[in-house]
Symmetry: C2
Subunit: 313 residues, 2 copies
């Protein structure tokens, strides 16, 4: 119980300890206790290809929010992020300045283990930061190829960052990234090609068939100089306002909670399956029988399912 | 029972009808009956980035195997494959020639629905072709970003195809593709840069830490001209021989059967969950309670799990 009080007060050491417990998967009861104190933080996702300047943007946003006396939690799922110690020295020093700020808590997530594992842990860590009284939680992920974490499943507003020089290889990704973007940022907007990229992106948004209740802004920033960050924050605030006014924020957060339940049920059933139902010896025997075609996988799956599921067919 | 006899005889119309049933997910009993007649086909996966010439390579391999009086099943999971009607007219005509051959059965898989769905159906379709007496089953998939189907989970030998001009964007993928490759092909080996790519790939293979019991060949082909196809088939045969001799083929096929059982159990539990346990009204109420923080997702997941799992914690 001391832990919870310290956490709710926003004690950095308690936050760090709680997150470690969450990552070690020993904190489910604690998460249950924490849960009633969550729901206050606004979740912003920052995603885009490597080299788009996501971390610099997160840094700039956090500095602005600190100046407005807000409390900020940062979760970096990006392995190349300076927040995870994966970038240039200069970057890292700058991030450390931010880390020392009393209003900021930074956590980088190692992308170890399974995809499902990372997504689940990230959601739990976000809950811890939410309970610790953060006004904003910024989540940085790479948006390439296998998206390790479906950021739109966690965040209220998703910001997609691109750079003019991303070039052709990025074209293919745009479609997928456009779909999850609530706000689009062309970073390093002082470089050649940025105007053209902005035009292309605006055009792409207009081509989308769905009714554009929300105008999907495309903004330019120079994150290293802090340029355009105020406009970006205004766009995020507008989006939050739009979600609240239309009731979408509540609907989407409820849907995310049910998705969470589904994931947890599947995880629980899977671990039950592994620990209690499927013993190694039996598995070897079953595999041998199937290999000899004496049994078939459909029948075996049926038997196992009936063994564990009440009233299972 | 007539169906099974026709299928085992390799009757093309019966094969097509059976596959349709499998795709509509109404054929589990049939698949159980078919299963004892499977295990005879050798599964070859062909994967690589778009534009690498995978379909042309599959075409060339199939023509060679037909010349050797073998029966071949082709499954194209690649949506851009001419086998799925997704390419140039010239390609499609060529493929149609192949499709008319009595020893060849071609099926393209629409990439509709969920990832799990596609992977499951592809495995079932491969079983049908196996039972229909195919000597070889060639499975073509795109190996980019989100791999829609983990081809190594289905195939005995995985061939990864690259082209010299793939360029930088491919560099990043190489690591992932190298890991699943048993045989590496540089297609369009007559173009500039092919020698360099071969050297790079050989070097990359040598850098792998695992003991190289199998020498991981890197071959050059010009699939449009049929060049290098005999060498490729020899490499695949060598790999099959290596797998058989070392007992790996049996071990891996057993592991694949158990993986199949796991997938089927999870699918069965998931559909049981959706159909019988979670009613829409209850879900809405639960979501409302969680949103108001009266309930938490961990507790809800626990309750649902206990409801369906025998002896569940």
């Amino acid at each position: 119980m001391n832990d919870i009080r310290g956490l709710l007060r926003g004690d950095k050491r308690v936050i760090a300890r709680t997150i470690s417990d969450v990552e070690d998967d020993v904190a489910e009861r604690l998460l249950e206790k924490i849960f009633p104190h969550t729901g206050g933080a606004y979740h912003i996702g920052i995603t885009g290809p490597p080299g788009a300047g996501k971390s610099t943007l997160v840094n700039a946003i956090a500095l602005q929010l600190v100046a407005r006396k807000k409390k900020i939690g940062i979760i970096a799922v990006d392995p190349s992020s300076p927040f995870s110690g994966g970038a240039l020295l200069g970057d890292r020093v700058r991030m450390n300045d931010l880390a020392l700020n009393n209003r900021v808590f930074i956590r980088s997530m190692a992308s170890r283990g399974s995809l499902g594992g990372l997504a689940r842990t990230t959601k739990d860590v976000a809950l811890v930061l939410d309970a610790a009284g953060m006004d904003y939680i910024l989540i940085e992920t790479i948006g390439v190829g296998q998206v390790e974490l479906d950021i739109a499943q966690v965040c209220d507003t998703t910001v997609v960052v691109l750079v003019p020089e991303s070039g052709d290889s990025i074209q293919a990704m745009k479609a997928g990234l456009l779909e999850i973007a609530d706000v689009m940022v062309v970073n390093k907007g002082d470089r050649e090609g940025s105007e053209r990229l902005v035009t292309e992106l605006k055009f792409a948004f207009e081509m989308r068939e769905q009714k554009l209740e929300w105008p999907y802004p495309v903004l330019e920033t120079v994150a290293t100089e802090g340029e355009g960050i105020n406009d970006l924050l205004s766009a995020i605030e507008s989006h939050a306002g739009y979600l609240t006014k239309t009731g979408r924020l509540e609907r989407e957060r409820k849907a995310k909670l049910m998705l969470r339940v589904h994931e947890l049920v599947e995880l629980k059933i899977r671990s039950h399956l592994m620990e209690n139902v499927l013993r190694k010896d039996d598995l070897t025997k079953l595999a041998d029988s199937m290999y000899r075609r004496e049994l078939n996988p459909y029948r075996v799956a049926d038997r196992i399912t009936k063994k564990i599921v009440k009233g299972g067919r």
